[in-house]
């Protein structure tokens, strides 16, 4: 990056008349590109709110808090899909964040030099697999495995514990929030891991060397030097992954069970916003039904926005606490 900037600086000829004009035009084009994104974003939000206005007018706040999704009776409430979306994404992050950071650390500090390239490429290839493939793999291979081996064990060992018991009770059918969350976790690992690897390798060597000289273990180097130094970039990567998990559609549709039921158990089927829209849009033949689905899309927008805002605030607080910004 720095090198290429320096190169272009060398290449810029002494200002000519036409050069000034071209430079200004270029400035306008880049500014236009940036503003276009904001404009599109605003346009999409407004269009979805407008499309969903019938649902919001009919149900008011009840649309967000309502647990019913009864097409026959024309009653729509988005609580179950919102809950399913948040829970599956949370499971995905709980799995993906430690694994991704582990991968990144291994690749930058621990792995033999010859193996770093191939492993890094393999992880980036994971990101190139279409989500429908993850969905089919999840349904045909992973869900039966969960039903036969993992979920019975969870039910027997954790299902009767205090507090967490209700999370792991229910019939082990292999399709539900836990399976969907794990598949999502695998899907977001490459996003988080590749960014984390980039920033970990950008940590100045003298910093790490000094820590080694002070007798730090690998864990201490990670927790006291690497992570604090790269904190904002790593959190950025995590939220990139979270953004993907929140909006993922096909893979979730296959393994989530698509049932508008509210259940505390992670083993039970649920629904997510994106999956509900994908499933039901083709046959949404009343105005209210269609409007409710568009309103669901708007809510996904709002949920994502809220989550990202919280992330930004968290980052600001962390930076203030540690007295530095980057």
């Amino acid at each position: 990056m720095n090198a290429s900037l320096a190169d272009t600086a060398d290449l810029v000829p002494p200002m000519r008349k036409s050069g000034v004009g071209a430079d200004r035009a270029f400035q306008w084009i880049t500014a236009g590109a940036a503003w276009l994104v904001l404009l599109l974003l605003g346009g999409v939000a407004v269009a979805m709110a407008w499309g969903g206005r019938l649902a919001f007018q009919t149900f008011g706040w009840g649309f967000v808090t309502g647990k019913d999704w009864d097409v026959v009776a024309g009653k729509f409430g988005a609580f179950v899909p919102i809950y399913g979306t948040l829970v599956t994404s949370a499971i995905a992050l709980i799995i993906a964040v430690p694994v991704s950071i582990g991968i990144a650390l291994f690749l930058t500090d621990i792995a033999p030099r010859w193996s770093r390239g191939p492993i890094a490429i393999a992880i980036e290839l994971l990101a190139a697999i279409p989500s429908i493939i993850y969905g089919m793999w999840g349904l045909f291979i992973f869900a039966p495995f969960m039903a036969a081996h993992v979920e019975p064990w969870l039910g027997n060992h954790l299902g009767n514990k205090m507090l967490i018991g209700p999370l792991f009770s229910g019939p082990p059918i292999g399709i539900g929030m836990l399976t969907a969350g794990i598949v999502l976790g695998i899907m977001v690992i490459p996003f988080i891991a590749s960014v984390a690897r980039e920033v970990f390798s950008a940590v100045p060597a003298p910093l790490k060397e000094s820590a080694v000289a002070l007798g730090s273990t690998r864990w201490e180097i990670l927790s006291r030097v690497t992570l604090p130094y790269t904190r904002s970039a790593v959190i950025g990567a995590v939220f990139l992954g979270l953004g993907r998990a929140l909006g993922e559609t096909m893979a979730v549709t296959f393994v989530l069970g698509n049932a508008h039921d509210l259940s505390a158990s992670l083993l039970m089927p649920s629904n997510s916003i994106a999956a509900a829209i994908a499933n039901e849009f083709t046959e949404a033949d009343t105005d209210l039904y269609r409007s409710s689905l568009i309103a669901l899309g708007f809510l996904l927008f709002v949920v994502t926005f809220i989550v990202l805002t919280i992330a930004k605030l968290l980052l600001l607080r962390l930076n203030r606490q540690f007295g530095r910004t980057n």
Binding site: A22, V71, V72, A73, I175, P269, N279, E280, T282, D285
Partner: protein, 344 residues
């Protein structure tokens, strides 16, 4: 680099313009008929269209976007015909000035995955099916199931109920049947392309339900007949309104079509579930074609009618090959006289 940045979007724009122009151009030709709607009818309709074109007929362009989409597009006049799995009522048709007639019949089959159980050995009744889908009958060894199936060993496991997650004509016909035979289902979840299922997991499309049923031990689901045949699934016998237990087959679907009271159904507004015949299969699905009574483009409308006439008269073999059931001859005659009096 600069030039590339500008050139790329420009090129994309040009391509987009061109393809739009191409679409408009070809739609302008009178020989091409466009239709949209039901996904259920898509395989047979596209096979008919290919055959028809080979015989020198018009080009039929059908988009399987779902019945709801088909209805709204034909009402808006953007397509020459729509196809729906749920018939429209006569007053709705009159309001939009549309004609409606059936083209093909299929069956909806209850499929199970109980270890050791052979196809056709399990017997179910309509009210029992409704109770299982309502979550009232939970276990395979429930006394109600055992009483119907003496000599069949069923596990003590819970029934893993599978339904469709997407809106579909299959679900409409299935729930329409449940509502007819079970008063509690009628007042509870009711009938529709999507209902508020009291229990179970939802699979996307027939293939999704078929996959779930095959994956989940002790599962019960419902799929179109073609999926049962192609995937060699374990189906259940159903008791019809005459009291006979019938297996799903082309013959029992035909028996249902023949015994249904088409003569007195205005605009063919008839859902054929729970048909009265002795050997009639109780859950069948019919796809209906919707066409404007006073078409804007007479040539295209005529081409579409010629296509459907050809399909109804000569397309039976093709339909059977794809595991659909062609309409009985008497019904085909009724449809043809309906078209000639209604579509101008």
């Amino acid at each position: 680099m600069n030039r590339m940045l500008i050139a790329l979007p420009l090129a994309a724009l040009l391509v987009a313009c061109n393809s739009n122009a191409g679409k408009q151009g070809s739609a302008g030709q009178s020989a091409q008929v466009t239709g949209a709607g039901s996904t259920f009818v898509y395989p047979v309709l596209s096979a008919w269209a290919a055959d028809y074109q080979k015989q020198g007929g018009a080009l039929i362009n059908y988009q399987s976007i779902g019945s709801g989409g088909g209805i709204s597009q034909v009402k808006a006049g953007t397509v020459d015909f729509g196809a729906t799995d749920q018939p429209l009522a006569s007053d709705d048709l009159a309001k939009s000035n549309l004609a409606q007639f059936p083209v093909v019949i299929g069956g909806i089959v209850a499929v199970v995955n109980v270890p050791g159980l052979e196809a056709g050995k399990l017997k179910l009744t309509g009210p029992l099916l409704a109770d299982i889908y309502a979550g009232k009958v939970k276990s395979w060894n429930d006394p109600v199931i055992a009483k119907l199936n003496p000599g069949v060993t069923l596990p003590g496991a819970n029934v893993a109920v599978v339904h469709r997650s997407d809106g579909s004509g299959t679900t409409f016909n299935f729930t329409h049947y449940l509502a007819q035979v079970s008063p509690t289902w009628k007042s509870g979840p009711g009938e529709g392309k999507t209902v508020n299922w009291p229990t179970g997991v939802g699979g996307k499309g027939n293939e999704g339900v078929a996959a779930y049923v095959k994956q989940l031990p002790n599962a019960l689901g419902y799929v179109e007949y073609a999926y049962v045949i192609q995937n060699k699934m374990t189906y259940a016998q159903l008791q019809n309104s005459a009291g006979t237990f019938v297996s799903p087959s082309a013959d029992s679907f035909s028996a249902a079509a023949e015994s249904a009271d088409w003569k007195n159904a205005k605009d063919f507004n008839l859902v054929m579930t729970n048909a009265p015949g002795q050997n009639a299969y109780p859950i069948t699905a019919t796809t209906f074609i919707l066409m404007p009574k006073q078409p804007k483009d007479k040539a295209k409308s005529d081409a579409a009618i010629a296509f459907f006439k050809n399909a109804l008269e000569k397309g039976q073999d093709q339909a059977k090959k794809l595991d659909y059931v062609p309409l009985p001859a008497a019904l085909v005659q009724q449809i043809e006289s309906y078209i000639s009096t209604n579509v101008k």
